[in-house]
């Protein structure tokens, strides 16, 4: 699939190019303002658009892409509310929370190409005062993180909970994704910060 990366900030463009390439999509062109995007879309009618950053930054590119009927993926880092969702959603647009897992990004991009509308449930919600956008950890995930924080090995956790080591790994991976982290140490700290683990 061919993608046009559109963002006014160079840092966001770089991040989006990297994301797109890691997802094995081709970056056809890069647009740093909405007018350029419109020109590019006139030339390549089948290209999909990927934009991102905050909603304010992405909005002009989103409307440009919409008027060209281009499949669009927006990777947003700020909070959105129900109204945004009502105003934004249409067939061919995917809104994902930054930074999306590659498989999710791929799936959303393909979905927009077929005219589906995608709204990432992990998007930060403006309605939630505590800012815990993210889905809460399950009790099992919490227990496993607690034991991980105590320095316990996967097998020891599995023995203690009477489950298999693979199940422990599965729960840990699910917790990593909910917390948006990649290491055990970060997961424990993020869960403490979110008030899900006791100190």
């Amino acid at each position: 699939m061919e993608m046009i990366v559109a963002a006014s900030s160079a840092a966001i463009r770089r991040a989006l190019v990297e994301l797109t390439e890691r997802a094995n999509f081709d970056v056809l062109a890069v647009a740093d303002d909405p007018a350029t995007l419109t020109n590019l879309l006139e030339r390549d009618r089948d290209a999909a658009v990927v934009t991102g950053g905050t909603l304010t930054l992405a909005r002009p590119f989103l409307s440009g892409a919409r008027s060209a009927n281009a499949a669009t993926v927006a990777v947003l880092s700020d909070r959105t509310d129900t109204e945004d969702r009502v105003n934004l959603s249409y067939g061919g647009l995917a809104v994902l929370r930054a930074v999306p897992p590659i498989d999710r990004f791929q799936a959303a991009t393909i979905a927009t190409h077929t005219g589906l509308s995608v709204w990432d449930p992990n998007l930060k919600s403006a309605e939630d005062p505590a800012g815990s956008n993210e889905s809460p950890l399950s009790p099992r995930e919490r227990t496993i993180l607690e034991l991980t924080g105590g320095g316990l090995a996967t097998k020891a956790i599995a023995r203690r909970l009477g489950i298999s080591p693979n199940t422990v790994k599965f729960h840990l991976q699910a917790a990593f994704e909910k917390l948006g982290v990649t290491t055990r140490a970060e997961a424990v700290m993020a869960a403490i910060r979110r008030g899900e683990l006791a100190v």
Binding site: T148, G151, A153, T154, A156, R160, R184, I192, A198, V199
Partner: protein, 298 residues
């Protein structure tokens, strides 16, 4: 032949050979290999995060493979302590205050078949710092970026062959050195207790912002604070009657602005000791005393 150069090369080789004795290869299985440091004849240290929760690994020395058991992991400083009979003499640690930015070091690790040596230098040596995950490191040591994964967990040795730090990969391709004093502290705790005790209070917290009036009342500079959103049953916090909605202002005199502060303040408190906790409840300041202990296993 330039005799000065020959001598220099020989000195470098001697140093590499000596440092190689202080490191081992670690095989976690499924082709995952990294390195470790021979702390003493029965104790190894390595990068905790690389173990991925393994409870046993195979250690590769110049004389063959031996099994190792993981005694303890401190994820917040990325140090794991292992027991293995390598028969090697163990390293000697460099005096921390002898280190300075720019010092030459060599990073030694061990791959599957041979020693790995990378000549490098200490890019930065700075004061004590705390990691984003609540670990206290006695000194900031940054090595050249882009450490090869196979020598992660290996040692950075000074020109006398003494261990300065364990080399680990940090965020954004950085290479961090976990100072030998930090490792020493953890190893002696583990050898004394058999594990790494974690002081525990039993509260779950969320950040709150204090308004100006409250800030003045509490005599605080910043507006960040934490509020108790959960008290675990039978925990030290429960015994001290901490309640949902309490703001923890300070613990043992240390002001608490976030959960990380609390975690670090707790880690400095000897287990079993009673400490003062200042809380703010329903418009009034209150002093409580908690007795900090380890989390009992569920």
């Amino acid at each position: 032949m330039n005799p000065a150069l020959t001598e220099w090369a020989a000195a470098r080789r001697a140093l590499a050979e000596r440092s190689a004795l202080g490191v081992v290869g670690i095989d976690r299985g499924r082709g995952v290999r990294f390195s470790g440091i021979v702390w003493d004849s029965e104790t190894l240290v390595t990068a905790a995060e690389r173990l991925h929760g393994a409870d046993a690994v195979t250690v590769q020395t110049a004389h063959g493979a031996v099994p190792a058991e993981i005694l303890a992991c401190d994820l917040s400083v990325d140090v794991a302590i292992l027991r293995a009979k390598t028969g090697a003499p163990g390293i000697s640690a460099a005096k921390a205050d002898s280190l300075a930015s720019g010092d030459d070091v060599l990073i030694a690790g061990r791959g599957e078949f041979a020693t790995s040596i990378v000549w490098s230098h200490l890019e930065q040596v700075g004061p004590a710092w705390r990691s984003r995950t609540g670990g206290e490191l006695d000194r900031l040591i940054r090595l050249s970026p882009g450490l090869h994964p196979a020598i992660e967990g290996g040692g950075a040795f000074d020109l006398e062959g003494r261990l300065c730090a364990m080399a680990v990969r940090g965020p954004r391709h950085q290479t961090l050195g976990i100072p030998s004093e930090t490792i020493e502290r953890l190893v002696s705790t583990v050898l004394q207790h058999g594990h790494l005790p974690q002081p525990y209070l039993g509260v779950r917290l969320q950040p709150v912002q204090l308004d100006d009036a409250l800030r003045q009342k509490l005599a605080r500079n910043g507006s960040d604070a934490v509020i108790v959103v959960g008290v675990e049953p039978e925990s030290p916090a429960a015994s001290a009657n901490l309640l949902l909605g309490d703001i923890i202002a300070s613990i043992a005199g240390q002001p608490i602005e976030n959960a990380l502060d609390l975690k670090i303040a707790l880690s400095r408190i000897p287990l079993g000791s009673s400490i003062g906790v200042q809380i703010y409840r329903a418009g009034a300041r209150l002093d409580a005393t908690v007795s900090v202990r380890e989390r009992t296993d569920r």
